[in-house]
């Protein structure tokens, strides 16, 4: 048992060390590592997230006119107890990851069918489609980059989706 455990822990740690380098084999390991047991320890490195991503949405309706762009309030930020209790952090993390993804040049060239296969895109589409008004038949969403507490930072639209039919 001692030898078996030594082998398991030794191999696991060796993989963990290798994972910190950007090697081609890591794509293979990451694909199989569904529980994230061989993580890349970055912790805000090399560059931290320095902007906020605000999600906006609007609906097209059966009657014709589109609703105004509005904030669906995906992740409330004000939580004075977040030192011990922060149930909204997952949603915020996903919004951040989505913003980073959509900020990449490659994403802009993806056809809609390919975007609809990406988990993060589907997650956001699903979220903005929730609580749709009864008369709505399609939803469109956009992501705006801004820095909430820095008014000098210029905000700009990062991505605007096409209209997606509501089921």
């Amino acid at each position: 048992m001692f030898i078996a455990l030594s082998f398991v822990f030794g191999l696991w740690f060796a993989l963990s060390v290798i994972r910190q380098f950007r090697l081609p084999i890591m794509d293979w390991i990451t694909r199989y590592d569904i529980l994230g047991l061989v993580p890349s320890w970055r912790l805000f490195a090399p560059r931290p997230m320095r902007v906020d991503y605000k999600v906006m949405r609007r609906f097209s309706t059966d009657a014709g006119p589109r609703t105004k762009w509005h904030d669906p309030v995906i992740d409330p930020h004000t939580n004075r107890w977040r030192i011990i209790w922060n149930p909204h952090r997952r949603g915020r993390k996903i919004t951040g990851e989505l913003g980073k993804l959509m900020g990449t040049a490659a994403f802009a060239d993806w056809p809609v069918s390919m975007r609809l296969q990406h988990g993060l895109y589907v997650a956001l589409l699903s979220r903005v489609s929730a609580d749709a008004p009864r008369e709505a038949n399609a939803v469109q969403f956009g992501i705006i980059v801004h820095r909430k507490f820095d008014p000098e930072y210029p905000s700009y639209p990062l991505f605007v989706s096409p209209f997606h039919d509501l089921a």
Binding site: G36, W41, L43, I83, K93
Partner: protein, 278 residues
């Protein structure tokens, strides 16, 4: 005077690690349990989360992703994961045999990780690694426990060191611009803190540099005298508490805190093997 080497012997260090990891699991799972986003059709609902497994290389995983996990099952998993974390901490406190509670905690922790794969952070990952290592460590008595603690300590050192080394490449950490920008976001900052940073931008310079230096030098934690290691880990704990208050990274306090007894155990063990060094 109490000997620190006795306080952090293999049994005590294992128990402390288990206790803190149990609390971490309870908080992480309870936060998901109470998150409105976990419901069907929401951000963390199964219909969206399962898209992560569509291209999985494992056929059973792809098959599982096609199943419908209703709200009841999702909440049941999160609830059981919360309870198992609380139970683990209690069992550790009462010094009751760890294998079964650890196995149950690992099972529900893994199930919850599978159920909500998106938006994981380093704390979630380190916690599951810690729990699995602890479980494996129970298979071979004191030797297995020592190996598990050494592994957990090594992961913790690797995490801090990699983060520090990777930051070194970017000037923004030295000149404070990254810290300033980070604290001015709503995601990781707060209005009051951002006002202070804006008014006194120079304070971001030592903050960024100190973080970088502390992370790069973190591996020395296992080599310095144990009293010094204890003080350094207290400072890191304060650092994580500060980040929790300002940035909302509350789970890091417990997930990384759970590795600290293992680090002190590693420190004490290395010192006993190399008594001539210090």
């Amino acid at each position: 005077m109490i000997s620190l080497s006795r306080v952090f012997d293999v049994n005590n260090a294992f128990t402390y690690t288990m206790m803190i990891a149990g609390v971490a699991q309870a908080i992480i799972a309870a936060q998901l349990l109470t998150s409105p986003a976990l419901a069907a059709g929401k951000f963390l609902g199964w219909s969206t989360q399962r898209t992560q497994y569509v291209n999985s290389p494992f056929p059973p995983v792809r098959g599982f992703a096609r199943l419908d996990i209703g709200d009841h099952a999702s909440y049941a998993i999160a609830f059981c994961a919360t309870l198992s974390g609380i139970a683990l901490a209690c069992f550790a406190l009462l010094h009751i045999g760890p294998s079964l509670p650890l196995a149950i905690t690992v099972f529900f922790g893994a199930a919850l990780t599978f159920r909500v794969p998106m938006g994981r952070n380093a704390a979630d990952q380190l916690l599951l690694i810690t729990l699995i290592a602890l479980l494996l460590g129970t298979f071979d008595g004191a030797a297995g426990m020592s190996m598990a603690l050494a592994f957990i300590a090594a992961q913790s050192v690797l995490a801090y060191f990699t983060a520090g080394i990777t930051k070194c490449r970017h000037r923004g950490w030295y000149d404070g611009s990254f810290v300033r920008a980070l604290l001015m976001t709503e995601t990781f900052g707060q209005r009051g803190v951002s006002t202070v940073v804006k008014r006194f931008p120079v304070i971001a310079v030592p903050l960024g540099s100190a973080l970088l230096v502390a992370e790069v030098l973190f591996p020395l934690i296992v080599l310095v005298p144990v009293q010094a290691a204890l003080v350094i880990l207290c400072l890191f704990l304060i650092f994580h508490l500060t980040l929790a208050a300002i940035m909302g990274l509350n789970t890091f306090v417990f997930a990384f805190g759970a590795t600290y007894p293992a680090l002190l155990f590693a420190n004490v063990s290395i010192a006993s093997y190399l008594p001539h060094v210090f």
